[in-house]
Subunit: 384 residues, 2 copies
Amino acid sequence: MRQNSDFSSEKHETFLPKLINASSDESADILYASGFHAPDEFLYFETADRKGIVVSPLEYSRACAEAKKGVEVIDRSDLMSQCGTERPFLPFFSKYLGVSKWCVPERFPLKTALELSREGIELVCAKSPFFPQRERKTAMEIAEIRKSVHATEEMMRCLHRMLSESKVNAQGYLELSGKIVTCDFLRAELEGNFKKMGYTASRTIIACGIQCAAPHNIGSGPVKAGEPVVADIFPRSDASGYWGDMTRTFLKGKAPKSVMRAYNAVKKASETAMSMIRAGVIAADVHIAAAETMAELGFQTGRGRDGMPCGFIHGLGHGVGLEIHEGPRVSPLNRKPLQSGNVISVEPGLYYPEWGGIRLEDLVVVTKDGYRNFNTMEKELEIP
Amino acid sequence: MRQNSDFSSEKHETFLPKLINASSDESADILYASGFHAPDEFLYFETADRKGIVVSPLEYSRACAEAKKGVEVIDRSDLMSQCGTERPFLPFFSKYLGVSKWCVPERFPLKTALELSREGIELVCAKSPFFPQRERKTAMEIAEIRKSVHATEEMMRCLHRMLSESKVNAQGYLELSGKIVTCDFLRAELEGNFKKMGYTASRTIIACGIQCAAPHNIGSGPVKAGEPVVADIFPRSDASGYWGDMTRTFLKGKAPKSVMRAYNAVKKASETAMSMIRAGVIAADVHIAAAETMAELGFQTGRGRDGMPCGFIHGLGHGVGLEIHEGPRVSPLNRKPLQSGNVISVEPGLYYPEWGGIRLEDLVVVTKDGYRNFNTMEKELEIP
């Protein structure tokens, strides 16, 4: 196995055959390249003149029907009769294809790598991403993401409706049809509805009050009036595999002034960021401008009295596609320019352990001159 | 990186520190060991005197609240200040812990393995499973799986009810509330209900007619009376991560004799298999007995007229736990004895391209003297 510490040298090499060994749940790359969804591990290969997948006989007929055009489907059992069950399959298969050196993804499984290297097959571990073209979405991909965002907005409006129809009881808790409204109930409603629409959403964030201070706290327990409710909804299409991702923050009743000020700062940061987005802008600069907007409005990022990070404690955004978090990252660490066809989230937020947090997230596609926003839903904190 | 072709030699070695680098979605092992659910990659380590996880600052407080007792939680950013962002984290962390040799799982990512080996940290790729104790469930795990199976049965009964309440129209198709019943509709109903119960089910198999001839065809289109409907339902608990798994085959109206004969053969094979299950029995022998039962009733396994495999074309069962397919396999290839605490599916099936297929699946826990069946639902083909 080649231990290549300077992957950039790959640029000067000729074409290297590619190999992935994973399930489509584990690897968005294998789904991207093959178009085939399978919960169990299968193989994808790409040589100078062939590309294809190797699947178990159980999956063969489905793979023939579902795999992308131009992707050959091979029944593994047809080759197993030549390979036998005693020796590992991949070294045999590499020799069968005449490949002595593969380019593999960063997460290629070590055991398989060792089996290959033991039989003299060289491996070059690709610099991420394995398919750089995944970061620039095709028209088909943009259409699929748009559908997922529309489904997401439909559920965000459903949540808004439930909060709107809730009454505030004497203790300040929300009630709907005589029952206390909890984060868990709201999550279950939305996730259940998504399933009926052909989407899977899990760990949907519906957090309230001080729970919102931790961006990944999914939330639990009863919702109170006057406290922020952060709803970060990210379903995946069961059919296409493309994700939607969207966040709104709501508050039933009248917002405390401090919360409203933070909300307006986050909204302003979103607008600042959006105004900069276009092909060629440095990703980090967009993040920094959003952070500065909030700082100028009095919301600094740093450590709170307890020493815990507070303020704008995460990156402004991330790519979305067949993975919920993929490239390009929009963070201070990414000094690369955005490219047209990038689909990125724009999600400034502010987090304070004293009262919770605010986050607002839209999904946009970067264009030559600017961007197109997949979202249409307004940004309003208070729900009467 | 040690290229160990004889992993059994590990038995004679002293304790090796363990390391996993994955998200809990990718690795049931990291969820098992840490108790922590996270969609993004984190680290689990186990040395002679410490075990813990290393998480991003975003996840730190949640990890402290949710990780298993005895699992130390480390904020990665606390160490990053010592490590810096220039060099890879894991070699630094290994030296920080004083570890020069790790045992890692088969799917350990190649890139990370190369980073470690480049700095002289040895890796031994464990023989699967990484945590052999995962195959023998604790009382807590058995209770969690039981809950998941109960939820599965509730939805199987819901499906039965929908088929029962359907009317057959003049063309022989099922209708419910005046609408044609499709596999897609039934799947969406069940998966939506699961979400509201705190379970995630995806790719639920509701296949009808000749679709049932391919065990992994999830099914689509309208359901006809007189044709088999295979329902293979496998939800995962959002809270615990444990799966349920269950299959029934139904048929609206009167079954053709050939289908009824196949159904009875599969049911008989299930009974034969169950009667053999106890700690100590060789897994393969249970499979073989089920296959022979069906063969004696006239259902041989082999190739059909078109050369495609038909009959009993998959293994009798598999372990179920934090993975939907895990050890022990109950197939002709597994000559090892079952152990008490194994939770396995028992799912004989028959598949014929001419008319479809039948599968019946229960989930059982193996005991010293026999087994306990988590399922209680009867096995009846026809729905009037």
